[in-house]
Each structure stands twice: as structure tokens, then as C-alpha cells.
Amino acid sequence: MLVLTRRVGEAIVIGSDITVKVVEVRGDQVRIGIDAPRSVPVHREEVYREVERTNAAAAAAARRTADVLRTRRSADPEA
């Protein structure tokens, strides 16, 4: 991983159209501003990884989930 030191107000440029700027540093929190084309999705990593993990879990459990939902529905016609 490339590690760069920047001061508040300074930025780095990724490619030709993505700019990442250090907006504020307070204690162990850093506020970061990102300028990117709208076609580049930007996510907090932990949120994106959580959706990745949940997709994997949903895929692994799909057969079991489908069987249970089918059974419950047929057992309860009001559902």
C-alpha cells in the first residue's frame, strides 16, 4: 500500500478525475472529502464489506431458506 503524508487542506489525486482531500483532523478522526465522477461508487469500507459478506451468506443459505419459506407458506394458506 502506498502511504502518503498530507496536511489538512491538502489532497491526493488518483488517476485524472478522483481527488481525495483531508478536510479535518480531530483526535483519531479524520474527515475526508472525495471528488470522483458520479459513476465511481464511493462507500465506507466496513459497510461495503458487510454487504459483500451478507450476499455470500445469503447465497450459501439460499437452498435452505427457499425450502423453509416454501414449507411455511404451504402450511399456512393465510400467510
Binding site: 458520479r38 459513476s39 461508487p41 462507500h43 465506507r44 459497510v47 461495503y48 458487510e50 454487504v51 459483500e52 459478506r53 451478507t54 450476499n55 455470500a56 451468506a57 445469503a58 447465497a59 443459505a61 439460499a62 437452498r63 435452505r64 431458506t65 427457499a66 423453509v68 419459506l69 416454501r70 411455511r72 407458506r73 399456512d76 393465510e78 400467510a79
Partner: protein, 137 residues
């Protein structure tokens, strides 16, 4: 929003140009009804062998759910008005035999006219939990 179980027809072919998080190569899917009324459907990849997800419309279970579809997502998907969008979320039965959960953090949004969709990743994991317990009728 009203419950619209068959707003994407049984057997519809869907296209996810970006894949979905964790499965970047899964571009093509087929959506099939899992139960007769289509309240639960199976989203099956046509690219990734064996990749399937059980999905359902969120509003019958979470009437207050209001995922925000950003401008860029609307533009990419060609969604000009709310009626153009079909929203569904993955349902997972946990390993511990607890109630099924719905992923409200990563809703699937599809243009009902073109079949083109993407899985959004919302910002607020507290307001829209990734594992919201599903209370079945």
C-alpha cells in the same frame, strides 16, 4: 408503497452490469417465483454457477423502509419516476435456526422496463440494518 409481488414477472431476465458486491462477475440473473403469489422469489445467476439468492419486496415486512436511490443510480438505471423502480432485498435463514433476516442495507433496484439493475449500498447501517429480522405472517 403497495405490495407488488409480481412487478417483475416470473422468469424475467435481469442484467446487473456491475455484478453485485462479493460477486463482481454475476451480471445476468433470472428471477423466479418461489411461492405461488411471488412474495418470495429466487434470484439466480446465469454467470456464476450455483449462485442464488432468495429475495422479497421489503415493504410488506418493513412499511417504513425508504431507501434513497441516488441521482447517479437513477441515471445509470434509467429510472425517471418511482414507478419505474422495482426494489427487492435478499432474505437469509441464519445458521442458528433463528428467524429469517432481510438485508435492508443492500437493496436490489431494477428498472422494470429494461430489466437493468444494481445492488445499492446504503450509508446508514443503523437505520437500514443488514440483518433485519423478518416476521412471517
Amino acid at each position: 408503497m403497495d405490495h407488488q409481488p409480481t412487478s417483475v414477472a416470473d422468469g424475467a431476465a435481469l442484467s446487473f452490469p456491475d455484478g453485485i458486491p462479493g460477486f463482481p462477475d454475476a451480471h445476468g440473473f433470472v428471477l423466479q417465483d418461489l411461492v405461488e403469489d411471488g412474495a418470495f422469489q429466487l434470484l439466480a445467476s446465469t454467470d456464476v454457477d450455483g449462485l442464488e439468492l432468495v429475495v422479497a419486496h421489503p415493504w410488506p415486512f418493513f412499511p417504513e423502509y425508504t431507501p434513497e436511490i441516488g441521482l447517479e443510480d437513477q441515471r445509470e438505471l434509467g429510472i425517471d419516476q418511482p414507478e419505474d423502480a422495482v426494489v427487492f432485498c435478499a432474505v437469509t435463514l441464519p445458521e442458528d435456526d433463528g428467524p429469517p433476516t432481510m438485508n435492508l442495507l443492500g437493496p436490489f433496484v431494477v428498472n422494470r422496463h429494461t430489466g437493468i439493475g444494481r445492488q445499492l449500498v446504503l450509508d446508514d447501517a443503523e437505520a437500514t440494518p443488514v440483518r433485519a429480522p423478518l416476521v412471517l405472517a
